[in-house]
């Protein structure tokens, strides 16, 4: 409001003035960076010989960091001048549509590849495990996409429903000996039930309050899991959870095992491949259901709600019920994913269901582009796969992940793939330009 839009530097502006500006901004950035990093990076606090903490200087690290910031600011100033690069700028419509077309083409290819992964990488156990992990996050991302991307409700406690699913399966299997296939729908139903139970009182709240309340619920559930030791095993978690069977045939080496029944040589990879296809199918079901729901009245109501809640209410949509369905549907898929997680790991503890996990899933959805299904896939592959690639930089990965969340919001507030096809089209004239930033506050 107050910013007078910076006039772009005239094409023929003297290069020297731009250099001067870049130098100035680099100096300023270096000063700020020095202030920020002077104590935090310039001093290390490690216990000395006597065990008490002692300060020691780290001037090299400090110099490197300050120099890096200054160089970054200098280059930015040199290349972009005083323009703000990329900011809030949507791709031109032509490109958006073209990207959409590419997306429609790429999706079946990706699916085909996903189906073939266990065949191609049969020997590579590590890669198979990684693929299962990625698919789990894709499924969670798609589930959360219903809540955040479609209905526009920021849920910071999504992992709570994942935990409900995991503990439902673990407890039902251990205490009542129910099989995985019976527990899977039960876990989903229980998670959805929890979604309704928690959602009902809070869904009247405004966007950011809702986010904080869901965060509170997520933490409450985790703390209860830690402290209710009689039932949940407390911080030690639950171990020895039953592994899934291939429609009754366990993946074991004995007579009635899967391998023996099909006349195959026993191999532990069979189970991994089975788990891979299981999570692939679960994820695809999530996607298919989302796809169909978007075309139903309730799905349209979700998207309408995201764009303008007041307009929805004045058109007679029961916003509480609509929000509740989105919340419950999202929770149900988290429940499915949770029981899959429990059966794959064979061990669960509250450690797996922290706020960090919620933030990771949210980041996948946000980076992928709120509401975009293929974007979630790409974001999950990049983030989870990227984490694995840079394993030796383990401690830096969360920094990168936080920084990229900020950067994406600053540059592309609607996510990397910000295409949002209107689900409902009005004949041929419907290829109307998509507003630059839908939902912007007037």
């Amino acid at each position: 409001m107050t910013d007078i839009p910076a006039t772009p530097a005239a094409p023929g502006a003297p290069a020297s003035s731009r250099l001067w500006l870049a130098l100035k901004s680099a100096t300023f950035a270096a000063l700020v960076a020095f202030g920020l990093f002077s104590l935090m990076i310039g001093v290390s606090t490690e216990p000395d010989a006597s065990g008490a903490l002692a300060a020691s200087w780290r001037p090299d690290d400090l110099a490197v960091m300050v120099a890096a910031v200054a160089a970054g600011a200098f280059l930015r100033g040199l290349i972009f001048g005083d323009r703000r690069p990329f900011e809030n700028r949507a791709l031109p419509l032509r490109w958006q549509l073209r990207l959409g077309a590419i997306g429609r083409l790429v999706a079946p290819l990706l699916l085909g590849f996903a189906l073939l992964v266990p065949v191609i990488f049969y020997e590579d156990r590590y890669l198979l495990d990684l693929s299962i992990l990625i698919l789990t996050y894709i499924m969670l991302g798609w589930g959360l996409n219903i809540v955040v991307g479609l209905a526009g409700l920021l849920d910071l406690g999504y992992v709570a429903f994942y935990a409900v699913g995991a503990y439902s399966y673990a407890l039902l299997a251990q205490n009542f000996g129910l099989s995985f296939w019976l527990c899977l729908p039960l876990a989903g139903i229980l998670a959805a039930f929890w979604g309704i139970l928690l959602g009902f009182p809070v869904l009247r709240l405004r966007g950011d309050y809702l986010a904080i309340v869901t965060l509170g619920f997520g933490e409450i559930i985790r703390l209860v899991l830690i402290n209710w030791q009689d039932v949940t095993g407390g911080p030690n978690g639950i171990g020895g959870i039953a592994r899934p069977s291939f429609f009754g045939l366990p993946f074991t080496a004995d007579e009635d095992g899967f391998a023996a029944s099909f006349g195959l040589e026993f191999s532990t990879t069979h189970r991994v491949v089975f788990l891979y296809y299981l999570i692939l199918i679960l994820a695809l079901i999530t996607n298919a259901v989302t796809h169909r729901l978007r075309r139903l009245p309730v799905g349209r109501a979700w998207e309408a709600l995201r764009e303008d809640e007041i307009a929805c209410r004045s058109l007679g949509i029961n916003t509480t019920n609509v929000k509740l369905t989105a919340f419950a549907t999202g929770a149900m898929f988290a429940g499915f994913a949770g029981s899959f997680f429990a059966t794959r790991q064979g061990f669960i503890s509250p450690e797996s269901f922290t706020f960090g996990e919620s933030a990771l899933i949210l980041a996948i959805v946000v980076l992928g582009g709120l509401g975009s299904q293929i974007g979630v896939v790409i974001a999950a592959v990049v983030m989870i796969g990227g984490f694995e690639l840079f394993r030796e930089f383990e401690q830096f990965r969360m920094i990168v992940f936080g920084a990229s969340m900020v950067a994406i919001m600053v540059w592309r507030p609607r996510g990397l793939i910000s295409l949002r096809e209107p689900t409902l089209k009005l004949g041929a004239a419907a290829v109307a330009p998509i507003p630059p930033v839908p939902g912007e506050r007037p």
Binding site: T2, E46, N227, A359, I399, V406, M409, V410, P413
Partner: protein, 303 residues
């Protein structure tokens, strides 16, 4: 009764710390209507800066308590304020006209960034300090003497003084008037010659420096810091801000004191394990049943 009084004192001390953090939430929410999710981590940064400053003072042999405390406060406030300014500049200002959830997501990213930055820069282990100030006064002698340690006195006194100063700034100075003007109508304030960007930046700077004071107090009181203290404290302080009525300075203080008292009494009389559950439950209950808080104004949504 003595036990109750003792817990009351402990609760007030804890509540003062929450109140100081809550002021940052409430000021930022009041002026730009966003939940500064990274504020808890700013507070954590403040505690770390104070810790590092203390260790440097120790290494150069400057250990006179009042002077050391003063230097710690000053350095922590200055550098943490710079953090607050930078966070606003990098993560929030470009998003000021974006859709409503964008700044919140950006703030969550910032919170993750700050936490892990501190973890990488200073190590993941918690940092214990020897007690800086020892001893206290016995208020009521007896079988169960009610005591107030000097640290508790310093915490409460500092909070009262800072509250007075900041209330004065908001009520009487030019800056405070600008802040209230921006809170009511940013566009109109800009038309009347208020530098909105600068005012918002200063709001963040003030919030961050108060959070730094809270960090120093935490360090004095508990004698330990780790990179994760910001998350839970941040949520509790946010609860305090909402409970007191978001946007209201005295409300934040009252909310902070209430949360501190509730938490202390809960762990004293019920169960220590569930004290965080109690805090989160209050958050949920307050937001559902009392979203305008104790001293807040009802928010009318305009089309």
């Amino acid at each position: 009764m003595d036990y109750f009084l003792q817990q009351l004192i402990n609760g007030l001390t804890l509540g003062s710390i929450y109140g100081l953090i809550a002021i940052g939430y409430t000021m930022v929410y009041g002026i730009i209507g966003m939940i500064n999710f990274a504020h808890g981590d700013i507070y954590m940064v403040g505690a770390y800066i104070a810790l590092i400053t203390f260790l440097i003072l120790l290494s150069i042999g400057l250990t006179a308590v009042p002077l050391a405390l003063f230097v710690m406060l000053l350095v922590a406030m200055a550098i943490t304020a710079l953090y607050g300014w930078t966070v606003e500049r990098l993560a929030y200002r470009p998003l000021r006209h974006s859709y409503r959830l964008a700044p919140l997501i950006s703030a969550i990213g910032m919170s993750i960034l700050l936490q892990n930055y501190v973890q990488v820069a200073q190590g993941a282990r918690s940092k214990p300090l020897p007690p800086l100030i020892e001893g206290g006064q016995t208020l009521i002698p007896g079988d169960f003497p009610v005591q107030m340690s000097y640290v508790q006195m310093i915490v409460i006194a500092t909070t009262v003084v800072l509250m007075a100063i900041f209330s004065w700034i908001v009520a009487k100075t030019r800056l405070g008037r600008d802040m209230r003007a921006c809170e009511q109508d940013m566009r109109m304030a800009a038309l009347l010659g208020v530098n909105v960007d600068r005012t918002i930046s200063l709001t963040f700077v003030m919030g961050a420096s108060l959070a730094a004071v809270a960090g120093v107090m935490y360090l004095l009181y508990y004698g330990v810091a780790d990179f994760f203290i910001g998350f839970v404290a941040g949520i509790k302080a946010f609860t305090a801000a909402v409970l007191g009525g978001i946007g209201s300075l005295p409300g934040a203080m009252i909310g902070g004191l209430l949360i501190g008292l509730i938490e202390t009494f809960w762990s004293a009389y019920f169960s220590n394990e569930y004290k965080d559950v109690a805090a989160f439950a209050i958050l949920v209950i307050v937001l559902i049943f009392l979203p305008t808080g104790i001293l807040g104004r009802p928010e009318v949504e305009k089309v």
